[in-house]
């Protein structure tokens, strides 16, 4: 091993530093000069994040059927109330109300119902008053004497939904008392897909008043053996109102 004097070592250290500095300078110089002519393979792509909120758009439509000249229908629509009004109902008559609900939005949701079915008998006439048991419960007698069937179907459109109808109240053979409608409606919770899928729900209420009017028995259904015979005049001046709020919620 060669032993150098301190002075020589210092000189050597200077030389090394100089060499390093020159090397770095060279590399930098050559790098900068070469930038203009060197060609790497390159490919450039861009990406973006477009965030769009979904839409939830429930569109209802109302239709109805009944005795000609004795009912009116307001079809309603988006944020427009629709309803059906039946007047001068007689024993032996029937009718129906159909609600078609479509989710025109881009996200699915759950359809729920908040309903109120109310009854009134505020202007009783002599004929009605003469009937034994008239106005049972103080709100008229349509609640027990009018037969109701409630059906629901889900599908890709109205026709498809109506092909899938199932009875929620009553059956194909017999109806239930109108008094039971509100509870069944308020228990509804139905999945609706986004537009383009099973985005349509149909509800159909079919009402009827028998020619030989009876009061539904304690089971709330007609034709089950416990119906109670009443005079047909018992429903005169009676009325019922059905109010329904449909809500389609993405979070449920």
């Amino acid at each position: 091993m060669k032993i150098q004097s301190p002075a020589t070592l210092k000189e050597t250290e200077k030389s090394v530093k100089k060499i390093i500095a020159l090397t770095i300078a060279f590399l930098l110089a050559t790098g900068m000069a070469a930038t203009g002519v060197w060609a790497y393979f390159t490919d450039t792509e861009t990406t973006g994040a477009v965030i769009t909120a979904g839409t939830l758009d429930l569109v209802p439509a109302v239709s109805g059927s009944g005795t000609a000249g004795k009912y009116t229908v307001a079809g309603g629509g988006n944020q427009a109330n629709g309803n059906a009004v039946f007047t001068k109902i007689l024993p032996g008559e029937s009718g129906s109300i159909t609600w078609v609900l479509v989710n025109n939005g881009s996200v699915p949701g759950t359809l729920t119902i908040d309903s109120a079915v109310t009854f009134s008998d505020v202007s009783q006439n002599i004929v009605e008053n003469a009937v034994s048991g008239n106005n049972d419960g103080g709100n008229g007698d349509l609640d027990d004497c009018m037969s109701i069937k409630l059906q629901r179907g889900t599908g890709t459109d109205q026709a498809n939904a109506e092909a899938n109808l199932v009875y929620l109240l009553g059956s194909s053979g017999a109806g239930a008392a109108l008094s039971g409608l509100e509870a069944v409606l308020n228990g509804q919770s139905v999945a609706m897909t986004a537009s383009g899928g099973s985005d349509t729900v149909v509800y159909i209420i079919t009402w009827s008043v028998a020619t030989d009017i009876k009061r539904a028995g304690s089971d709330g259904s007609f034709g089950t053996g416990d119906d109670i015979n009443v005079n047909e005049n018992i429903i005169q001046t009676d009325s019922a109102q059905i109010g329904i709020t449909f809500t389609l919620n993405s979070g449920n």
Binding site: G76, N81, N83, N125, V127, E128, I242, N249, G251, N252
Partner: protein, 197 residues
């Protein structure tokens, strides 16, 4: 450092749980109110005056001191105060047992004393029956007994909503009546029925 991170996560979770009740999902609400079902009314009224009425009336025909050959007429106004047309309108007649308590005691031996419902009711008959001006042939020239036996007699045309019409009837005391009819009384009830069909 780990402790701070853990507490932060816990705080976030708690806030999330508490805040859960106030989160708003997308929702759309539509209403269908005013769906109404109203039963019709069929309210027939009778009156001795030319007016709309509800309920019954009395004494449309009230003959006193009748003698054979006398007549008594009156008009019963029938009205429909309901919301439904009466497609069918009928009238039926009934009467009480003949009250013979007013018969003079000098009248004896009459065949009717043993059967008070007999014959006096056959001595009273209709001459003219008109509903809204048109003759009701089925009810004309009929004794009380025959009218009762007919049951429901159709008054043609029914009665429209808010409609009103006169039922004119003239009764006559048969000239064939004998002294056995003196002092006799009979109450006649006319029942009018309107039906939707």
């Amino acid at each position: 450092m780990k402790k701070i991170l853990g507490l932060s996560i816990a705080a976030i979770l708690i806030i999330a749980m508490v805040g859960g009740g106030t989160w708003a999902y997308f929702n759309d609400t539509e209403t269908s109110t005013g769906n109404t079902l109203i039963a019709g009314t069929l309210d027939l009224g009778l009156s001795n005056a030319d007016e709309m009425a509800t309920g019954n009336t009395t004494a449309t025909w009230a003959a006193e001191g009748w003698a054979p050959g006398a007549t008594e007429n009156g008009t019963l106004y029938i009205s429909n105060s309901g919301s439904i047309a009466m497609t069918t309108l009928t009238a039926s007649f009934d009467y009480s047992a003949v009250d013979t308590s007013g018969r003079p005691t000098t009248i004896t031996g009459s065949p009717w004393t043993t059967d008070p419902t007999d014959l006096f009711d056959k001595m009273i008959r209709t001459t003219t029956v008109k509903w809204q001006g048109a003759s009701v042939g089925a009810a004309e020239n009929k004794t009380l007994a025959e009218l009762k036996a007919l049951g429901d007699i159709t008054l043609p045309g029914g009665l429209a909503i808010g409609g009103k019409g006169p039922l004119f009837i003239e009764f006559a005391f048969d000239t064939a009546a004998t002294n056995g009819c003196q002092g006799n009384t009979v109450d006649v009830t006319v029942t009018v029925t309107g039906t939707q069909q």
